[in-house]
């Protein structure tokens, strides 16, 4: 049953991927700026420019360029970077490993703080604790993650000297250094995401707390902790789960700026550098990869619904 559902979802996502690939390919070519010009710079002469363009395959007609690229992608070959001849797919995977560590940590921390905070605020609706939580969430939501990153660097890096201001150390190399390097970029992302999630969790919890079955549970004398845990949280988390998928996506885009600020060699910076350099194979490969991740996350979330909500299972 699940396998059939999975297969159906995967097949349904194929047209999306195809449309995205065409869209990205064409959009990139419509943006002015010649990648060959950026490679040769101001030491260029016409012959050299033409040679580099041919080397990049840009001398071929657009449909031919697209079909060649698509054929390579279907074989699992995302091509080579125009700038440094690095194979795109292995580079993507390497950069993604860095990004996923920051995102996963930020995601877990956001969820760990926001879910209880949202439930608690809803439970204490319009009281001091609720107002404090909502105000904090609104404040945090108003601070862009890049600004938060700069503030963290100034405080913990420059002023106190507790944390390194840039770079990344793999966990395998040194767990302590890994943690020290990853704290600030993660924190910069966590604040905003926590705020969004808290507000969302609060709203859905308030809605659930107003349901008749909650009144019934309370009236039959169940302790408040059981009402909240067993009857409220379970029902309130489903809409939040949908949002969690979107938050993962927004975390992925948030890392673009954060990775640039903290000098992390992640997927976001990989993409930004490629855009400035008009590095078509890297941009196309990265965007396609990000779309794949979005699709995968949404499939996973769809699979989680029936586990959390029996009504979905029955449907």
């Amino acid at each position: 049953m699940i396998l059939k559902f999975l297969l159906k979802r995967i097949l349904a996502s194929l047209p999306t991927l195809f449309i995205v690939s065409v869209f990205v390919f064409l959009l990139l070519r419509m943006v002015p700026g010649d990648p060959a010009a950026l490679v040769v710079g101001d030491v260029a002469n016409s012959a050299e420019l033409a040679r580099v363009r041919a080397e990049m395959g840009l001398d071929k007609p657009l449909p031919a360029q697209y079909l060649l690229w698509l054929a390579d992608v279907l074989r699992g070959d995302f091509g080579y970077s125009f700038m440094n001849r690095e194979a795109v797919l292995p580079a993507l995977m390497e950069r993604f490993q860095v990004t996923v560590q920051v995102i996963a940590l930020a995601f877990l921390l956001s969820a760990a703080v926001a879910i209880p905070a949202g439930v608690f605020a809803a439970w204490r609706q319009n009281r001091r604790a609720d107002i404090a939580i909502v105000t904090s969430a609104t404040l945090l939501l108003s601070v862009p993650s890049f600004w938060m990153g700069i503030l963290l660097i100034l405080l913990f890096g420059v002023k106190l000297g507790w944390l390194p201001t840039l770079g990344f150390v793999p966990f395998q190399q040194s767990p302590t250094e890994w943690l020290l390097h990853i704290i600030m970029p993660t924190a910069a992302l966590v604040f905003v995401e926590t705020a969004i999630l808290t507000r969302l969790m609060r709203a859905s919890t308030i809605e659930v707390l107003g349901q008749e079955y909650i009144t019934y549970a309370r009236s039959k004398g169940l302790p408040e902790s059981i009402v909240l845990r067993r009857h409220t949280l379970k029902n309130a988390i489903t809409p939040t789960l949908t949002m969690l998928g979107l938050i993962l996506g927004s975390l992925l885009s948030g890392t673009v700026v954060i990775e640039t600020i903290f000098g992390l060699p992640g997927l976001g910076r990989f993409l930004i550098d490629a855009i400035y350099a008009r590095d078509y194979p890297v941009i196309q490969g990265t965007l396609l990869f990000i779309v794949l991740i979005y699709v995968a996350i949404n499939i996973v979330i769809d699979l989680l619904y029936p586990l959390l909500d029996p009504r979905v299972r029955q449907a």
């Binding site: 700026g33 101001d42 390497e94 660097i153």
Partner: protein, 536 residues
């Protein structure tokens, strides 16, 4: 009879301005060991010199590889791997006598064999050497290396198709660097592996997107004369050089404060006052100032219907105060320079500072004469190089004040560069990267637009004068031609020169021996870290 060229070390005339806090103790004696961490704003493109390159790539690679010749501090060319150079009377044959006992990073000794191998590889179009047109006859100079002949184990001759006074300057070029490599640098199929060269540092690890680490080459054999530009005695004090990719320059500056980075070069000029205050108040950093060879200009498309009239170009020049633009864009840190002869070169003299006077009234009159009736003048600029946008803003204000109708179009750098290469602009706020010899800079923007759209100055007299520079074998001859070129520039106004870029580098106070220079990029031999106050 052959002319022996004595290319021995000369005393540097130039001295950088270095400000350190009074309290910062200079380490009297150099110290071996440690790591120097340098911020670079983007990753290198490859480890293949002169082939897949950009400014950061060049910077990293000139610590690894060495050419037969290199620039001295005064931007003259001196021997590096050569011990001396003989130039034939007809100036077509350059014979290099190699220093003996020089070792490659793999332990092999440098001989004429590797020099020939390196040059054969560079001249092979398959290699993709960016500056092949310097040497294969296809460039504006028409210069071609006809042969590279081994005359002995340590003696090798380059035969040119015509006399050239600039051959050694081209060979020493940093963007077009030609380090002598060992054949082990490439795989049997000819694909690039890693540089096995003769420099004071060897490649350790390139962690893509993150850092490039160089390790001290213990077998390095330095020259005997004092450090001078990219030649002279190079002593690698640090065990390791780490070029750390730090895309954001302001964060890089904070990282110097925090002790995570030891040196940041080309810091945004806007941060100058803040860093200066820190130098004075805390003394934990040093600040270095340097005028570079990079030349900032306003390009004018002489094929444009309006701008093809020299009166219109002169009108625009009279409407712009280069002094004011320079002060505005460089925070008063750089002097203006309307000529293509950089202030840092030995050829500079006050005459090259002369330009059309700032006279908005005359500008209006000339524009009227040229039939200008308020048509829009579009200035292209970009945000990547913010000074280009700053220049454009100042120029627009002056042009509009003088009665022109100027507007700015802001592109990203890729678009502006492509438009520049295609000649697709009316006015463009632009910059030319460093060229050591004025002839090379003039050669980069002078020529027929039919040959290359990016040539700005398409004038037969100017082209002839630049060809003459190719065979000007003395500085006096060169100066005479440069004078004429500048005179013609003032008359024809194909381009409006503004200033040579000013760079500010900052380092931790415990970094010693560092000196900026006219190329605006760091040299890290002869530089050491004292242990006291070392950063994280």
């Amino acid at each position: 009879m052959r002319l022996a060229l004595l290319l021995s070390g000369t005393v540097a005339l130039w001295a950088p301005q270095v400000h350190a806090a009074a309290g910062a103790k200079q380490s009297q004696e150099p110290v071996f060991g440690g790591v120097i961490r340098v911020a670079i704003n983007s990753d290198i493109r490859s480890t293949n010199p002169g082939v897949r390159r950009d400014g950061n790539t060049d910077t990293v690679l000139y610590h690894i590889g060495e050419s037969l010749v290199a620039y001295r501090e005064d931007l003259s060319v001196g021997p590096l791997l050569a011990s001396r150079i003989e130039i034939s009377e007809d100036h077509r044959t350059f014979t290099f006598f190699l220093r003996q006992g020089v070792r490659f990073h793999n332990g092999a000794e440098l001989t004429s064999e590797q020099v020939k191998w390196t040059w054969d590889r560079l001249l092979d179009p398959e290699t993709g050497f960016r500056c092949l047109d310097y040497y294969d006859g296809s460039g504006a100079s028409g210069l071609k290396i006809e042969s590279v002949d081994i005359l002995g184990r340590y003696k090798i001759a380059f035969r040119l198709n015509k006399p050239s006074a600039l051959f050694l300057d081209r060979m020493a070029s940093i963007p077009c660097q030609t380090p002598i490599l060992h054949p082990e640098s490439v795989a049997p199929d000819g694909s690039w592996r890693r540089p096995v060269a003769t420099g004071p540092y060897r490649l350790g690890e390139w962690d893509r997107g993150k850092s490039v680490t160089l390790l001290r080459f213990d077998g390095y054999v330095p020259r005997s004369e004092p450090r001078n530009g990219l030649t002279g005695k190079k002593i690698a004090y640090a065990d390791r050089l780490v070029f750390q990719v730090t895309p954001d320059r302001i964060i890089a500056k904070s990282s110097v404060y925090a002790g995570n980075i030891d040196l940041l070069f080309a810091m945004p000029l806007s941060a100058h006052n803040e860093v200066q205050r820190r130098v004075e108040q805390r003394g934990d950093v040093k600040i270095y100032h340097q005028d570079t060879l990079d030349w900032t200009v306003l390009l004018m498309q002489t094929k444009d219907p309006l701008l093809s009239d020299v009166r219109m170009r002169r009108a625009i020049a009279h409407a712009i105060s280069t002094e004011m633009v320079t002060t505005f864009a460089t925070y008063g840190l750089a002097p203006p320079n309307p000529s293509a002869i950089a202030r840092a070169t030995r050829f500079w003299r006050p005459y090259y500072g002369q330009w059309l006077s700032y006279d908005p009234e005359l500008a209006r009159e000339l524009a009227r004469e040229a039939g200008y009736e308020g048509q829009v003048l579009t200035i292209q600029a970009n945000r990547k190089f913010s000074y280009m946008l700053d220049n454009a803003v100042a120029i627009q204000a002056m042009l509009n004040a003088a009665g022109f109708n100027a507007r700015i179009e802001v592109y990203d750098w890729a678009t502006q560069l492509t438009r520049f290469l295609n000649g697709d602009f009316q006015l463009s706020s632009f910059g030319y990267s460093a060229r050591s010899h004025p002839a090379l800079l003039y050669g980069n923007f002078t020529g027929s637009k039919e040959v290359r759209e990016s040539y700005q100055w398409d004038d037969p007299l100017a082209i002839r004068l630049i060809e003459k520079l190719e065979t000007a074998f003395t500085d006096a001859e060169t100066r005479k031609i440069l004078d004429r070129l500048h005179r013609e520039m003032i008359r024809q106004v194909p381009i409006i020169g503004l200033y040579n870029d000013h760079v500010i580098d900052i380092s931790r106070a415990n970094l010693h021996g560092y000196e900026p220079w006219a190329f605006g990029r760091p040299r890290l031999w002869g530089v050491w870290i004292s242990h006291a106050g070392a950063g994280r």
